[in-house]
Symmetry: D2
Subunit: 135 residues, 4 copies
C-alpha cells in the first residue's frame, strides 16, 4: 500500500479535493472523501464533479496498480441519489481485462451505504511500466 499511496498522492487534483486512497490492488481499489462546504454545487448538494472525480481516481488506482500506465478512454456516470454530508466511499472492481483494454465498475456510497452513483470506466493499457511495482 505504501508504494501506491506515494504514487497516488502525486495526484494533486484528487488531493486538493480531499480524496484519499484507502485500499488498492490489481483490479480493485477503494477511495474516500469527507464532504466539505466547497464540495457542494449551487443547489447545496455534493457536486457531480466531485462524485466523478472520486470514482475516476478510484478507477485509475485499480487499473494502474497492475504496474502499467493505463489511460482512461471513456467513463459513463449515472446519478441515483443526492448527498450533502459525511464520508463518501467509492469502490472499483475490474469486470473485464484483455491485453489492451480494461473495464471497471465503480460504485459510490454514502455513510448509510446508499448507492449514490455508478461509474463504468474503460481504459487503454499501454504496457509501459509505472515507476512502482505492484506484485
Amino acid at each position: 500500500m505504501d508504494k501506491y499511496q506515494q504514487y497516488f498522492t502525486a495526484d494533486k487534483f484528487a488531493m486538493s479535493n480531499g480524496i484519499e486512497l484507502t485500499e488498492c490492488h490489481p483490479g480493485f481499489a477503494k477511495a474516500q472523501v469527507k464532504i466539505e462546504k466547497h464540495h457542494l454545487n449551487g443547489a447545496g448538494v455534493v457536486h457531480g464533479g466531485l462524485l466523478f472525480t472520486l470514482a475516476d481516481f478510484c478507477f485509475a488506482a485499480a487499473v494502474n496498480s497492475y504496474g502499467f500506465v493505463t489511460l482512461s478512454i471513456n467513463a459513463n456516470m449515472s446519478y441515483f441519489a443526492k448527498s450533502t454530508k459525511g464520508v463518501l466511499t467509492a469502490e472499483a472492481k475490474e469486470i473485464a481485462r484483455s491485453n489492451k483494454i480494461c473495464t471497471c465498475d465503480i460504485n459510490v456510497y454514502d455513510e448509510e451505504n446508499q448507492l449514490l452513483a455508478n461509474f463504468k470506466g474503460t481504459a487503454y493499457i499501454t504496457h509501459k511500466e509505472i515507476d512502482f511495482l505492484c506484485h
Copy 2:
C-alpha cells in the same frame, strides 16, 4: 448574464476549482478554467475529474437556464487528448429536449482549439422554477 452568473457562482465546487461561466442562455453555455498546478493528476496532466467538472458545470448552466430545476441523470465522457496548461473552454449545446428529458453535447477544447474531451449529458426536467428567470 448577471442573473446567471449570480446563480452559478453559488456552485462552490466549480468556483473553488477556478471554473467560470462566460456565456449562457437556454440550451447553450460556455465555461472556462485556467489550468493551475492543483488541477493535475499523478502523471502531470490535467485530471479527468477537472475536465468532467468543467463540462458538467457547463451542462448544468445550459439546461437550467430555461428557468426550471433540471437534474443530471447520466453523463458519458470520452477523452481524446491531454493538456497541461493554458485556458480550457467547454461549450454545451442542447441536441434534444422533450417535456421531461433533455440531452446536451459538450465539447472541451484547449487554447489551440484542440478537442480534449466530449461529454454527453442527460437530465430530468422538474418543472419547478428556479429563483431567477431567464427570458
Copy 3:
C-alpha cells in the same frame, strides 16, 4: 410468467431475431438467443447489434414488469469478447430506482459463462399501467 411471455412476444424485432424471455419479475429478467448465421457481422462474429438487442430486450422486460410503461432513455454498451456460436444469455438486474428513473445493469454471457458484454440502461417510468399486471 405467462402474462409476461405473452406481452413480450409482441416484440416482433426480438422475436424475428430469435430472442426469447426465460425469466422475468420486477427488477430482474433473463433472455436468450441461439446464434444463427444471420446473426453474424462481416467479420464472422456475432453482431454488436444482436448483443445490444438481446440486452435491451432483457432490460425492457425487467423494468416494465413492475406494470408501468417504462421508456428507455440511454444505454451504455461495452464489448469484452467475441462469440460465434451457441446460446447467449443476458441477465438484467435493477441497481437503482426512484419515482421517475430506473437503472439496470445487464451482462451478456456465452455458453461457457464468459462475459461478452455489459449494458447499463436508464429508463423513464411513466406510471401509465401496462395491460398486464405483475403482482
Copy 4:
C-alpha cells in the same frame, strides 16, 4: 463505393434486417433502413435494437473504411423520439482519432429529419489491413 458495399454486404445481421450502406469514406458513413413490421417492439414503435444496429453498422463502416480492422469497444446510445414508419437514416462522423482509438458521433433521423437517437461509439484500431483498400 463498390469495394465497401461488397465488404459490408458480408454483414449478415445488418442485411437480414434490411439495412444498407449508402455512403462511405474514411471517417464518414451513411446507412438507411426502411421500416417493416418486424422492426417494431411490443409497443408498436421501432425497436431500440434496430436503431442501435443501424447506427452501429454505420459506425463500423466509417471507422473501418480507413482500411484497418477496427473493433468497437463502447457505444453510448440516447433515444429522443419514436418512429413507426418510413426510411430511417444514420450518419456517422468521426470526431477524434489517435493512433489506437477513434470516436464517432452518429445521429439517426426519420424521413422528416427529426433526430431520433444519438450514438457515440469508441473503437480500437488494430492496424491489421482489411482485404479491400480504401484510398
